[in-house]
Amino acid sequence: TQLLEQSPQFLSIQEGENLTVYCNSSSVFSSLQWYRQEPGEGPVLLVTVVTGGEVKKLKRLTFQFGDARKDSSLHITAAQPGDTGLYLCAGARTGYDYKLSFGAGTTVTVRA
């Protein structure tokens, strides 16, 4: 059983549409990260959120950390084909030796 549940598992949208990916858990995390992975490559860190209720924006990407620090969301506005990839959320818990727990990922496909 994964500590972090991501939904949806797959998402296919047209260029210009918006999308939201969710990451949920019953556990509290000291911080939560979002990574993007492209085929044949390793995950690359997009953002880290550390405060409950925090919202971070990275161009067209908006990341939110839940008030209780148990969940997070990633919203992409006006998606572009370059946003295509596997999005992974990862949570860190205090006292766990810098280990991360990863969600299973959401595969996003943006069609031109």
Binding site: Q6, Q9, P43, L45, D97, Y98, L100, G103
Partner: protein, 111 residues
């Protein structure tokens, strides 16, 4: 700046053979991690290391062995490969933060 590298990038081996996957980082990061990635499971931690000569098990350590004699290297050995170990393996490192930096991965097929 090479960052973190893995070798080989692709490997095909037979059941029962020993195989070693290499990981090298140039940042002198304290922590290094080995993950496997399988469809539907995301990234699962195999082993990690807090420093040279300090290693510990992760979520799925059975069938794997690690060592870390130097800070920059963290090899992963499959002592007797099984088909269930067919996967993509990623090495990552971090320096006392939760932000991990990943290598490009090794795609291992066990026949």
């Amino acid at each position: 700046d090479a960052g973190i590298t893995q070798s080989p990038r692709y490997k095909i081996t037979e059941t029962g053979r020993q195989v070693t996957l290499m990981c090298h980082q140039t940042w002198s990061h304290s922590y290094m991690f080995w993950y496997r990635q399988d469809l539907g499971h995301g990234l699962r931690l195999i082993y990690y290391s807090a420093a040279a000569d300090i290693t510990d098990k992760g979520e799925v350590p059975d069938g794997y062995v690690v060592s870390r004699s130097k800070t920059e290297n963290f090899p992963l050995t499959l002592e007797s490969a099984t088909r269930s170990q067919t996967s993509v393996y990623f090495c990552a490192s971090t320096d006392l933060t939760y932000e991990q930096y990943f290598g490009p991965g090794t795609r291992l097929t066990v026949t």
